[in-house]
Symmetry: C2
Subunit: 209 residues, 2 copies
C-alpha cells in the first residue's frame, strides 16, 4: 500500500509537471461513468485536449465507446481486481504524449468501495451516482463522499419514477462535508452537463495558472 501510494505520488508529480489535470471517476456499475465521459468529451473537445484511461476487469467495451469520440484512450484490465492500482495507471501514461494533453479522465472499475482507498495519481476524485441507486448512498458509503472533490448525481431524468429523497441525500452529504460540490445531471437528456463542464473548466483554470 505504501509503495502504491508512492507511485501514485510520482504519477501526480509527472502530470503536474506536464500540466495534465487528472480526474479519477468512481461509481457503481451502471452509475453512468462512461456515458458521463461521452457527454463531457463532446463538450470539452473543441477547447481542450482530452485523453482517457478506462479501467475494467476484463472487457474493452467502455474503451471502444470512448474511442468512437476520437480521443486517445487506453484500456487497462485489472484481471479480476475490483479497482485500478497506481502501477497500472503509471505504466499506461507512457502510451501518451503528455505534452499534448490538458485533461486525463481515469474511469475506475465499477465499484463504490475499493477504488476509494487507492491513490492512482489523480488530482481529484469524482464520485458518480445514479438516482436509481437510492438516496442512502452518502450514509452507507461515506468515504467516497469524504474523498471526492465533486459528486455527479446522474440519471435525474428518472427522478419522477424512483423514490429518491433529495432533501435527505443533501442533508446526509452536509453531515459529511458541507462544502462538497454536487452536480445533478442527466447523461440521457443532457441536463446539467453544462454545470459539470463549467466546474471542470474552473478547476482546469486554477490548475493551469
Amino acid at each position: 500500500m505504501e509503495a502504491s501510494d508512492e507511485i501514485g505520488m510520482q504519477t501526480r508529480n509527472l502530470l503536474r509537471e506536464k500540466n495534465v489535470l487528472a480526474f479519477n471517476l468512481i461509481g457503481s456499475p451502471g452509475s453512468g461513468k462512461t456515458s458521463l465521459l461521452e457527454r463531457t468529451i463532446e463538450k470539452l473537445k473543441p477547447q481542450l485536449s482530452i485523453a482517457v484511461v478506462e479501467g475494467d476487469i476484463a472487457t474493452t467495451r467502455d474503451a471502444e465507446r470512448i474511442a468512437r469520440l476520437d480521443v486517445p484512450v487506453v484500456q487497462l484490465h485489472t484481471g479480476g481486481a475490483c479497482h485500478l492500482n497506481a502501477n497500472l495507471v503509471h505504466r499506461s501514461l507512457s502510451d501518451y504524449n503528455l505534452e499534448y494533453i490538458d485533461i486525463l479522465f481515469i474511469e475506475n472499475v465499477g465499484n463504490l468501495v475499493c477504488p476509494v482507498d487507492f491513490d492512482i495519481g489523480e488530482f481529484a476524485k469524482v464520485g458518480v451516482l445514479s438516482v436509481a441507486e437510492g438516496d442512502d448512498k452518502p450514509l452507507k458509503y461515506p468515504l467516497l463522499f469524504r474523498k471526492s472533490s465533486c459528486i455527479v448525481l446522474n440519471k435525474i431524468d428518472l427522478l419522477p419514477y424512483v423514490d429518491f429523497d433529495k432533501a435527505r441525500f443533501y442533508s446526509d452529504i452536509e453531515n459529511i462535508d458541507s462544502n462538497l460540490k454536487v452536480i445533478e445531471v442527466s447523461c440521457k437528456t443532457g441536463e446539467g452537463i453544462g454545470d459539470w463542464v463549467e466546474w471542470i473548466h474552473q478547476i482546469q483554470e486554477q490548475y493551469s495558472s
Copy 2:
C-alpha cells in the same frame, strides 16, 4: 483464501445438518437487495421461518429495515472491506437457534465484483441487478453470472424510462450459462415477486427432501 474456503465449507455443513437453506445475495449498491428481502420476507413468512444476515461496511440501516418485519436479523460490519468473509458469517450463526430457521438470507456488501470470489457457506448465490444499471452487466461482470444460481433483474418498472436492451441482456447471459434462471421483478410494484418466491419454494423443497 484456503482457510476461508474451509470455514465456508464448515458453515455449509452446519446449515445442511440443521436443514437451513442459505442464499448469498450479491449486487451493486442500490440494485435493491434489501427491498427484495423486504418483499420476499412478507411473502414467505406465513409458511417458513426466515432469518437474515446483513452485510455492510459500517451502518445498520439495512438491518433496521429488516428488523421492522419482525424476523431475526444480525448486522455484520466489514469495517471497510468490500465483501463478507466466511469467518464473520460463521461467527454470526451462534446468534441464531438454527433448529428453528428454514431459510437464511445473507445480504452481501453492495459490490458486483469482490463478493463473488468468497464462499461464505451459502447453498446458492443470487445476483441482484437493476435495469437502471444497464444491459451490459453480463458482459462486464461475467463471473457473477457464472457463479449465481439465479439472477433477479429488479426495477423492471423503470424499463420504459431507461435504455435497456433485453434481447442483448439475455443473449449475453445465454453465452455465459444457457441454463441460468433469470427472474424479472419490480420491488416497487410487486411484479414478478411471485415467480421469485416460487423459485425459492422449489429450491427449498429440493433442499429439505
